[in-house]
Amino acid sequence: MRILLVEDDPLLGDGIRAGLKLADYAVDWVCDGEAARLALLDHAYQACVLDLGLPKRDGLWLLKDLRERGNQLPVLILTARDSSADKIAGLDAGADDYLTKPFDLFELQARLRALIRRAGGNATPRLEHAGVVLEPASKRVSRDGQPVTLSAREFALLRDLLSHKNHIRTRAQLEESLYAWGEETGSNTVEVYIHHLRKKLGAQFIRTVRGLGYRLGDPG
């Protein structure tokens, strides 16, 4: 799960990035509206955390631009402006949610989970396939009722696959979802994590679609 963080305050940006990383999100952090616009053009994100008072391009402008281009990316506005007029303007410009500073890290994580879940067309907080259950909030995974221990990357990979049930995910897509900018990606790390997941969840749980990528295996 890759998230774009647009925040011009270095201390706060650093904190949010660290906090979201703790929830196993890959976070790309940009400090101004223009950089955010370019990042949104170049990469596929699962969600965007957007500050409104930004240098170069205002957050609201960015949001309108995004929606005009037909991009449905879930956007959570994070700002110190707390009047209802500001909230209304933010939501009307196309934001999905709104959080005022200061805020609780767990609340931010929960709201992002809900946004991502709903964007995937899924209202229930559990992701489930063929006896494997993933609860994003508690980060618990089980297979046929038995708890399974996964590393952070394995968890992120499984979450991505479960969120895109019935879709083939290319290696590039999975890499993009797993790693933020500046994080090293080995040439075959995705294959390594797929291998680990198969060992823990069953060989047939993830199928390789030759030449294309991976998808979840048929249940049963």
């Binding site: 650093d14 660290a18 906090g19 931010l108």
Partner: protein, 460 residues
């Protein structure tokens, strides 16, 4: 609670009471004088009238006796019989004597004395039988006969009094009604003032809308417009304060958010380095909140000042020297030079405030220019004007942002997190208090200047 108890001198301070008292006193005085004058005038006129009657009666008698003494016996009886008939209210009984020039009496009325009254010719007041009488003595042209007509002065006085009383009575009867009328007129005339007071009294503290000018009486309009001006100033002050409070809250939110989220990150981090980093960030966030708070309080203290509290002689060159030596300790790696005039630059001002302003300008230059930038502190005469400020040869400020720099909490696009967004606003306020111009400009050859400039004093 003050204001609810009646003040001891409330009546003496009440416009209505003062007005009523003055009007009542004047009215009573005028009516009193009028009554006294009318009374004496009426009495006098009554006396004159009665004297006139005396004269008429005397001449009538004289005409009857002249050259015709024969029927005089008869006349006395006839007069007595006429007199017993019904009397007019103001008809007072006349007594008379008719005699010869030698003093012998020919005729007299019933109550007249038997001897001739000793009275001077013409009108005279004499006493007879213990009572005062008004007597008119006239003689016939030939001098043979003398007629005296007398009237009791007691009776005359009673009549005159009655006339005067009847003249004055209506005035006395009408005056209470007039006083009542005056009272209501005064009340009515002052009612707009009461309404004005009620309007002001019923206002909530938030209601600072101007009072209606046209409803107020002409005399109260200066007061109303003064009140309206006060309301206006209060409204400005209040909305400034509200904006300031809102801005201040806004500015403190971000550092607080930093402290909170980094604290949670520190709690959740399993890795010691991450935890250390988060704790370090918490300290920075707390420092920033402190700085914002300090600047806010500084500005809040400067804002309400109308002028400098304790102006003293300040040498700008010496002040710049001091600020520079402090700055060299804090920013040892930066290139800061002082450009000062050799002689003293004296102005009347507050050295502490000027140092704060200069430090803020220097802080901005340090914060928003690349490390290799040369920063010059200026304390000199430039174009003949005393100047205190900072000039750098950095990239300058985008022209569109220039006018917004002094806005409170505005940070330019190049802003870093450490600034409070208040430094230039404070510098500008200090400049205002010192009657200096505050100039922010990109220099033609590159670089940026932030200066306080004192207009050249008029040639002495």
């Amino acid at each position: 609670m003050p204001g609810t108890e009646p003040e001891p001198h409330a009546h003496s301070q009440s416009l209505r009471w003062r007005l009523l008292r003055a009007v009542f006193a004047t009215a009573l005085l005028v009516w009193g004088l009028n009554a006294v004058l009318s009374y004496t005038q009426a009495r006098h006129e009554a006396e004159e009238l009665m004297d006139g009657h005396l004269a008429q009666a005397a001449r009538l008698l004289l005409a009857l006796v002249r050259d015709n003494e024969s029927h005089l016996e008869d006349l006395a009886t006839r007069l007595a019989s006429v007199r017993s008939q019904e009397k007019h209210r103001y008809e007072s009984p006349l007594e008379f004597q008719v005699g010869r020039a030698d003093g012998s009496l020919l005729l007299r009325s019933a109550h007249a004395p038997a001897k001739s009254l000793a009275a001077a010719p013409g009108y005279d007041d004499v006493s007879h039988a213990g009572h005062p009488w008004r007597v008119l003595t006239i003689a016939s042209t030939s001098g043979d006969y003398r007629v005296q007509v007398a009237q009791s002065i007691d009776l005359r006085d009673r009549t005159a009094l009655e006339v005067a009383r009847r003249t004055v009575l209506p005035i006395a009867l009408i005056s209470p009604a007039l006083l009542l009328l005056l009272y209501y007129s005064v009340r009515r005339a002052l009612k707009p003032l009461d309404e004005l007071a009620a309007d002001v009294a019923s206002r909530s503290p938030e209601n600072l809308r101007p009072l209606a000018q046209n409803a107020a009486p002409l005399e109260a309009r200066p007061l109303v417009s003064a009140l309206n001006r006060l309301f206006g100033r209060l409204d400005d002050t209040l909305s400034n304060e509200r904006r300031f409070t809102a801005d201040a809250a806004h500015e403190l939110r971000t550092p607080l958010a930093v402290v909170r989220i980094q604290a949670q990150v520190a709690q959740l981090s399993r890795n010691a380095d991450d935890r250390q980093h988060a704790l370090q960030q918490i300290l920075l966030g707390a420092d920033r909140a402190t700085r914002v708070l300090e600047q806010l309080l500084r500005l809040a203290r400067l804002d309400p000042l109308a002028g400098l509290p304790h102006p003293a002689e300040v040498d700008l060159a010496e002040l710049a020297e001091r600020v520079l030596s402090d700055a060299r300790l804090a920013a040892a790696d930066r290139c800061i030079v002082l450009e000062r005039s050799d002689d003293r630059l004296l102005i009347s001002g507050d050295a502490e405030l000027l140092a704060i302003a200069l430090r803020n300008l220097l802080d901005n230059a340090l914060r928003y220019t690349p490390p290799a930038t040369t920063i010059r502190i200026i304390a000199a005469r430039q174009d003949g004007e005393m100047t205190l400020g900072v000039i750098d040869d950095g990239p300058g400020v985008p022209p569109t942002e220039l006018p917004r720099l002094v806005e409170r909490f505005y940070r330019g696009s190049a802003a870093r997190a450490e600034g409070s967004g208040l430094g230039l606003a404070i510098a500008q306020r200090v400049a205002e208090l010192h009657a200096a111009r505050f100039e922010l400009e990109n220099l033609p050859g590159g670089g940026f200047a932030a200066r306080l400039r004192w207009p050249r004093p008029p040639a002495a």
